[in-house]
Subunit: 407 residues, 2 copies
Amino acid sequence: MSLPAEIEALDRADPLREFRAQFELPPGVTYLDGNSLGALSRRTRGRLASVIDAEWGRGLITSWNDAHWIALPQRVGDKIGRLIGAAPGQVLAADSTTVNLYKVLCVALQAHPGRRVILSERGNFPTDLYVIEGAIAQLGQGHELLLVDGTEDAIEGALAERGREIATVVLTHVHYTSSRVYDMEHVTRTAQACGATMIWDLSHSAGVVPVQLDGCEVDFAVGCGYKHLNGGPGAPAFLYAAREWQQRPWQPIAGWMGDARPFDFHAGYEPAAGISRYLSGTPSVIALSALESSVDLILEAPMAEIRRKSVALGDLFVDLVERHCAGMGLELVSPRDGRLRGSHVSYRHPESYPLMQALIAAGVIGDCRPPDLMRFGFAPLYLSYADIWQAVMRLAEILQTRRRHGG
Amino acid sequence: MSLPAEIEALDRADPLREFRAQFELPPGVTYLDGNSLGALSRRTRGRLASVIDAEWGRGLITSWNDAHWIALPQRVGDKIGRLIGAAPGQVLAADSTTVNLYKVLCVALQAHPGRRVILSERGNFPTDLYVIEGAIAQLGQGHELLLVDGTEDAIEGALAERGREIATVVLTHVHYTSSRVYDMEHVTRTAQACGATMIWDLSHSAGVVPVQLDGCEVDFAVGCGYKHLNGGPGAPAFLYAAREWQQRPWQPIAGWMGDARPFDFHAGYEPAAGISRYLSGTPSVIALSALESSVDLILEAPMAEIRRKSVALGDLFVDLVERHCAGMGLELVSPRDGRLRGSHVSYRHPESYPLMQALIAAGVIGDCRPPDLMRFGFAPLYLSYADIWQAVMRLAEILQTRRRHGG
């Protein structure tokens, strides 16, 4: 089937269409998994070559000053801050999402010695819950992880019922399977009205869903560098601590990069002024440089256009599935209304795993999540409407073939 | 002055001389700071190009399985293990030295609920002490950091006096300025005889000083990937936990990479079997790949030859300084006996900073450490005896010039 004219028209009218040439996607592949691992851009490849050959290879130790390696966590953090509504001086890029969540969680718990409950949702990304369980086990102060359904009603219900016991609320802004988006401002204000500290995980939001951390007066946020930020596999994560959380006592993992005078090699830890006190050890310069270059590229696209196209790609995918895959066992588990979704959609299907294997063999890369979900992500900077059309046509072909063969 | 024949003879007889061609050092530079940031090898450059272009760029998400990214922390850990006397399954490469030290320290403290003292030395690398201070502040259980002089006598004296209160001893095997090496076996056995848990920081040892962690029955060790392991700026660090410490309750930073079934996305953290439970979040694949390739290269050189040459380079440096810089204010603060030193030496000089600036301008790169130390490191795989001779000749010229000009 040849590409319909209306799909071609969408691509022609796409204000972000020039960005695609910046990415080096393998030929013959429609990549719908940028929500798991963002793609490599030419700019990032160039920056990596330069940090490896010139800065490390030739500059050696002098690059800590000459190439400003020492300022990377704060500089990359400030750039990510522009994507998530954070004024400068409140975001760092370093460590993993797990380690960053551990740090801010410990600070939040320390701030509420009289409260023993941590509120989250049952379906939160497991590692976020593991971090909470780990901190509870370590502190040994009888904290309780209260898990409720992942709806604003359920969160508010728990806050209404046990608000005075709740030290902190930990939620993921865009759900990793359903793609449902919380109303950040409303949830944050409700939590804070009960005296709780609000921590958001922006792993599936940053770079693709507009976020206003300062505007919502969020306390803390963390998030991932290797999904929609395109920072490369295992890229450094980020950590946001609102200015008022930068005067607190220590975060738990005190290290020289978070000290006021790291190159004085002095006795007695003195937390640095501002956000830097949330640093610990030395982050990977190569990995941070890759992340910086990919964030720079995203910053060249207006966030409103990114969001508009992300929603449009998702809507097109869902429309086409409704039209071409009806009655073939796919059940949309993401909100049908694109305004309530992040930049991916998930479908339930009893044969999700073999179906996805067949799709990947046909050049359409998405992923599966247990027990029976197929997940498709939409990266507005390197996907076209034609890609979406191609992907759904392949999916429809595979479903039809399987049905004919009783698959 | 032309290179003396006996120096040339040393290089001709050097069994490691072929390794130098593997490194891409800038022309005209004598690099004596591999103890701060190891040099880039051709192999590492090649591996980086391959992980960036082929594995990330073309393989995208499929490389987690196809390129075995998921096994990197354990695989690289096992390779580092061969350099530090650790049988497979006890070392991981991930996170920073700071984060790793925090993890093992918390586990060690948890194992000794009745003991409240952490013993270390006053001159330990500051970040190690900061980590201890941070953990003490966070736990809020009245732990005490007991600091004594950095000698085996002082450590043993403290253990004899307060051994029953000491939960853990945290020491750096090779001192970051003096280069003094502890007798690991003796100190470990003395600490353990008091019931304390022994933690070693191998940041200045790994890759250049032979270490037998299993042989010395060490409990825990951590160390740096970017010094003598040549893993690149901010390379991932490593963590050793002896087998008996792999059945303990949780390390504090529980995350999905340390879970038994990370891709099941299940509720309720279940620490993985073995060393993997010490993982937390997703480490940088690019940074870990660089580290793996540089460790592979080191593994091609017999450790006994590496150590022999490291000591010989250091001895030559000290000899030449004695011969050519006598009476010019340099005071050796490292052991004169090479068997008691790591792979660097430090000198005290009242004008250490301007002297080092002049040396760097003359193409000899070392570094300074407060208050008045000049530090020179000897990387046996990419330095020649001629390099050492050149460096000391430059140093002597600079000292003589400054003396003539009353500098």
